[in-house]
Symmetry: C2
Subunit: 272 residues, 2 copies
């Protein structure tokens, strides 16, 4: 049986992780591991970790911290019983001196004893609640990655980390906008309420059909573009910081944690 997206969509968390760990599945995770918190990843040397953690604390909408590893420890024990960050994400981006040098499906050969892993909440987790409320999300229906854009809204700097807030865009029917705001507000670990809706140009997006990451989604009649702070923001901050070495997830290709997405706090205990 091939591990295609449509197969994995119906599998439980352990089976999904197993397919990702073995690199049988290397594509995006939207809609997978239904009901569990998904996370963006930033992995960097310890000397940058304190400033990066400050950056996350100061920008909690794009960078909601859900887990931080011990230095040099690839096991994220606060996010699950058995998560090895070297293998449990479908695809990773490797950066050297601020430049993307390649994408890989595991980072066993890139792991170092001075690395610190940061897991940040992801919008995928509130999409379930939106769908449950009858709100259609084009990119899930069409099996694509949500479109993401560099906006002109600036983050709050910390050390060498700074830059624009990256936003993800979903078309929402005008009469559901208030519902969407209220529902997503309840997920502070998944970017919370949208930060902007309406004319994309007002936040510096000149061409909505050409996202900086992810796939384009069409402007739909009767709907307006709604923008959430996005977990790719720290990737943009890391790129401009020109760190000698850094690893992130490949956008759209997330870590699926063992934390239920309606948990009050993102701390794994054996009873959850």
């Amino acid at each position: 049986m091939s591990n295609t997206y449509s197969t994995l969509k119906n599998l439980d968390l352990q089976s999904v992780r197993s397919a990702i760990r073995s690199a049988e599945y290397t594509a995006h995770t939207a809609g997978l591991g239904f009901g569990y918190l998904q996370a963006n990843l930033v992995i960097l040397p310890e000397e940058y970790a304190l400033d990066f953690m400050r950056f996350c604390q100061r920008n909690p909408k794009p960078c909601p911290l859900v887990g931080v590893s011990d230095t040099g420890n690839a096991l994220l024990h606060t996010l699950g019983q058995d998560i090895d960050i070297r293998t449990d994400v479908p695809a990773y981006n490797i950066y050297k001196n601020g430049k993307l040098i390649g994408s890989v499906t595991d980072i066993k050969d890139h792991w170092r004893n001075d690395l610190v892993v940061f897991a940040l909440g992801c919008s995928f987790t509130f999409e379930r609640a939106l769908k449950a409320a009858g709100i259609d999300l084009w990119h899930i229906t069409n099996n694509t990655t949500v479109p993401m854009f560099r906006s002109t809204i600036q983050s709050v700097a910390a050390g060498s980390f700074q830059g624009p807030i990256v936003v993800s865009m979903r078309m929402i029917a005008e009469d559901r906008l208030k519902d969407v705001q209220e529902i997503s507000y309840r997920y502070p670990l998944a970017h919370g309420a949208p930060i902007y809706w309406g004319d994309p140009k007002a936040i510096g997006i000149e061409d909505i059909s050409r996202p900086d990451w992810g796939d384009p989604a069409p402007m739909e009649t009767g709907k307006i573009p709604v923008f959430w702070a996005c977990g790719v923001t720290p990737q943009a901050a890391v790129e401009q910081a020109n760190l000698p070495f850094c690893i992130t997830h490949k956008p759209g290709h997330m870590l699926i944690t063992e934390i239920p997405e309606d948990a009050e706090v993102p701390v794994f205990t054996k009873s959850t």
Copy 2:
């Protein structure tokens, strides 16, 4: 006009801060600066900062991080326009080698260029919402500090930081318990929902009339003791870590920030 508690209770935020900054007022802050997020404080050398920040991230109920300074910078620019942490808290505790060596009303003579300031949300901020819902809080009515206890519930360790979760106790009428849970859940930056209610002995509190910090509050007929994770938890963790140097607020004597307590995120902007 003397700056007594009853005077300050009716003053605006700027006037309250001014009285604290000049050390005219050096007592507890419960009920002051109505409507603004209050914060517990931990100030420690940068070499311990990353582990301490991990400790907060892993224990978000007792340690909800609302602000972190740049190293050596006493101004908390993400929590207000003009907060100087050396003067803007009514009373501080100074620790050397894990021992409390004294309490002071400013830390100008103790400030160092390697210090990092951590501000953590405080239960005072949800008490307003409880009172607005008609829930009586004995310690506010009687102008005392809430009773706090070392429990036997353990925190999640990070580096040398570990130890028991400290809890604050409020007597709540049984028929209001559900309201109290739902209301305080809405304040994740102020410890969120209670972590325990009922027999204090079950969480290791042998004598409810003898709190480890704060003032005793009587067992009231028809009410049950309800316990929230408390911002003194990191003080207990810091004490057992035997850090060479550390400063905290004196329990009950908080930093009053310029962040509205119903803000979605604790990040000051000029428009808030």
